[in-house]
């Protein structure tokens, strides 16, 4: 295994998994607190099974796509996805959009479940289970995309999946121990880091897909990551300054 590309790939999958599992855990915890662990566990298991099925189905299909076409398609998608995360993280770092507040999300989700239970006296467990399933499925889709995107084409699907799974287990274990939303996880910093890595991978694979031989091969990823990190920080600084100018 080539660690210069495997290490950032596994790190990106693990860190993204932490961010998304923290978000999903908040909703699953709200379901468990209000409706019990049974619908929460069933919904979560069904969501994880669906996500695993997507990885198992898409992985072999992607291996049949010609390498350059696959790299180009995944490279462009990674650029769009990674730059989207980096943009949002920069705006959050600058205070333009509010940080993710897990406690507030927990309260909102609990209120929504309460409202739904009053409207539908029957099927309360069903609604709670579907809520947990949706949370796991929707948050997990981003992790699945990252695992497939950084893993496919380089034989890294298994290490990237294991990295994401390990992070998932870590977050769930922490959540089970403290039994409340994981609001102290530095979500925006993690999102910033993952955005930097995915954007770097995006440029790298878009270039390889176009037939460009990057100088230094895989090591070029480090330069790309440094440039995107600088861009995110400069963007956040400019955003902060322009807000202050408007306020003054």
């Amino acid at each position: 295994m080539n660690w210069s590309i495997a290490a950032p790939a596994v790190s990106a999958a693990s860190l993204a998994s932490i961010v998304e599992v923290v978000e999903a855990f908040t909703i699953v915890l709200a379901v468990a607190t209000l409706r019990g662990w049974r619908p929460a566990a069933l919904g979560t298991t069904a969501g994880l099974a669906l996500l695993a099925a997507i990885v198992l189905l898409l992985g072999p299909v992607l291996n049949r796509v010609p390498l350059h076409s696959l790299q180009l398609a995944i490279g462009i998608l990674l650029l769009l996805f990674g730059m989207g995360w980096l943009r949002k993280a920069s705006l959050r770092a600058a205070g333009i959009i509010p940080l993710h507040d897990e406690d507030a999300i927990f309260a909102a989700e609990a209120a929504l479940l309460d409202q739904q239970a009053r409207r539908q006296q029957r099927n309360v467990e069903w609604v709670a289970g579907i809520t947990a399933l949706k949370a796991v499925l929707l948050e997990g889709l981003e992790v699945v995309f990252i695992v497939i995107a950084v893993g496919a084409g380089r034989g890294l699907l298994m290490p990237a999946s294991l990295g994401a799974l390990a992070a998932c287990v870590l977050v769930l274990a922490a959540g089970a121990m403290i039994h409340r939303p994981l609001s102290r996880v530095p979500e925006n910093t993690l999102k910033f880091g993952v955005g930097v890595m995915l954007s770097a991978f995006g440029v790298f694979w878009t270039g390889e897909g176009l037939g460009i031989a990057w100088p230094g091969q895989d090591l070029a990823l480090l330069l790309f990551a440094a440039l995107f990190l600088a861009a995110g920080l400069v963007g956040a600084a400019l955003a902060r300054r322009s807000t202050m100018e408007v306020v003054q």
Partner: protein, 71 residues
């Protein structure tokens, strides 16, 4: 909204965080592709266009979004 509709919306939202940024990135990649495939320039010129183009687009988009949000 059904679960399937929500999944579809999530998938679109994953890649279209902001329409202008998405279109601009696709434009930069297209230009780089044309430079690599239809000119005699060193392919690294196309690579540089993708790299620096995306970096500049990111900074511009964050700055512009901040101005729009703050005003």
């Amino acid at each position: 909204m059904t679960v399937l509709e929500e999944v579809a919306a999530e998938l679109i939202g994953m890649f279209v965080a902001e329409k202008r940024l998405t279109l601009a990135v696709l434009g930069v990649v297209t230009v780089a592709g044309c430079l690599v495939n239809f000119t005699d320039l060193n392919p690294l010129v196309g690579g540089t266009v993708v790299l620096l183009g995306c970096v500049i687009l990111l900074i511009e988009n964050v700055w512009r979004s901040a101005r729009a949000g703050a005003s």
